[in-house]
Symmetry: C2
Subunit: 212 residues, 2 copies
């Protein structure tokens, strides 16, 4: 794919949803689908779908529609999930445990390689198949195991220091659940999940009686 | 505020972040702030800040800057968090527990009134101060207690049925963590937190070496 063209963040935001629908359609045994039918299922206009997918050269053929498996795989490649990614989680509380125990992420190729916490009482305790390690081992682990992604599920006061240490050890991306902004060099990818901000958007939409 | 003007979802998406920064600035004792200084802290351009806040009539005065407390409170009103909201959680797994145990939400006025699950082994068990209730009590509870928000933290196969029941009982908004789209009438607000999609955006940004 040509990287000359800047793809809008709105399109990128929608791509995982295409991927999810196409995965479900594929699993149900459907091999091709028109933009109209995809539109009906996804409740997005067909022209939006065509426009979005055109960003990547488009995969459809007039009168045939989209080849579901091909489109699914191409979007997977665009999203970078055609290969696996190694991830560690720092913060073994409920949220960290929820991530470890979910099967969704491994299914998408995000492989959890270690779980860390700085609470000594948790040292060696198990979450699923993972034995909790103490956070002072994090930098070496990142280096030795070539870890790409750090998920931060510690309280916000601790989050920045965890990020700093991990960046120094060579982490490439941070999935941040702490309710604070993580300031890192530009070459480090940061994806925030700010749950209270999500709840405020919900509240805004309630106050303004509008579904988004 | 006039509701004639349609505020873009990009602006709404940014408002909670303004709210968070202003809250921190307020707590640090600062009473007024220029858009330039806010810009430095938030790493957003000053013109973007002025433009965003102008959507709401603007709160700044030339040469004075913004009154932090006033702006914080006005944005709180816009976000609908100047009043409290009642919420129930269905799904008492790790994710449900993480939400119950977080103090962030109550601080913003989102009051958890009940936690439900359909696993009989959890009946009566406690999460924090909440005794887990069985899901068959959900509809009556929503009606009796005038619950506004339903947080869904059950697996996706169960999510739609939970939503259907809650909508019938009069719920106004759904905070959906299940990795599926919840189809509800237009007057019901839905806010999705799709963690695997967040992770795919991270992966996309890694593949394209661009911080967002």
């Amino acid at each position: 794919m040509s990287s000359d063209k800047k793809i809008s963040s709105a399109v990128i935001r929608r791509l995982p949803r295409y991927y999810r629908y196409l995965g479900e359609i594929k699993e149900s045994g459907i091999q091709r689908i028109s933009s109209n039918e995809l539109s009906n299922r996804m409740k997005v206009t067909a022209s939006q779908i065509r426009q979005d997918l055109n960003n990547f050269g488009g995969f459809g053929q007039q009168g045939y529609g989209y080849n579901v498996e091909y489109l699914y795989e191409e979007i997977g490649k665009i999203l970078g999930i055609d290969k696996t990614h190694s991830m560690v989680i720092v913060g073994a509380g409920n949220l960290g445990q929820a991530i470890v125990n979910s099967e969704d992420f491994a299914k998408r190729g995000f492989i959890i390689r270690g779980v860390f916490d700085n609470n000594k009482e948790l040292d060696g305790r198990k979450i699923g198949e993972h034995q909790i390690m103490m956070s002072d081992r994090l930098p070496q682990f990142i280096k030795d195991e070539n870890i790409e992604i750090l998920a931060i599920t510690v309280p916000k006061d601790a989050a920045r220091e965890v990020a700093r240490v991990a960046v120094e050890a060579g982490i490439k991306a941070i999935w941040n659940f702490a309710h604070t902004d993580i300031n890192v060099p530009d070459n480090i990818v940061v994806e925030n999940v700010h749950l209270s901000e999500s709840l405020m958007r919900l509240s805004y939409n309630m106050a303004n009686h509008a579904n988004q």
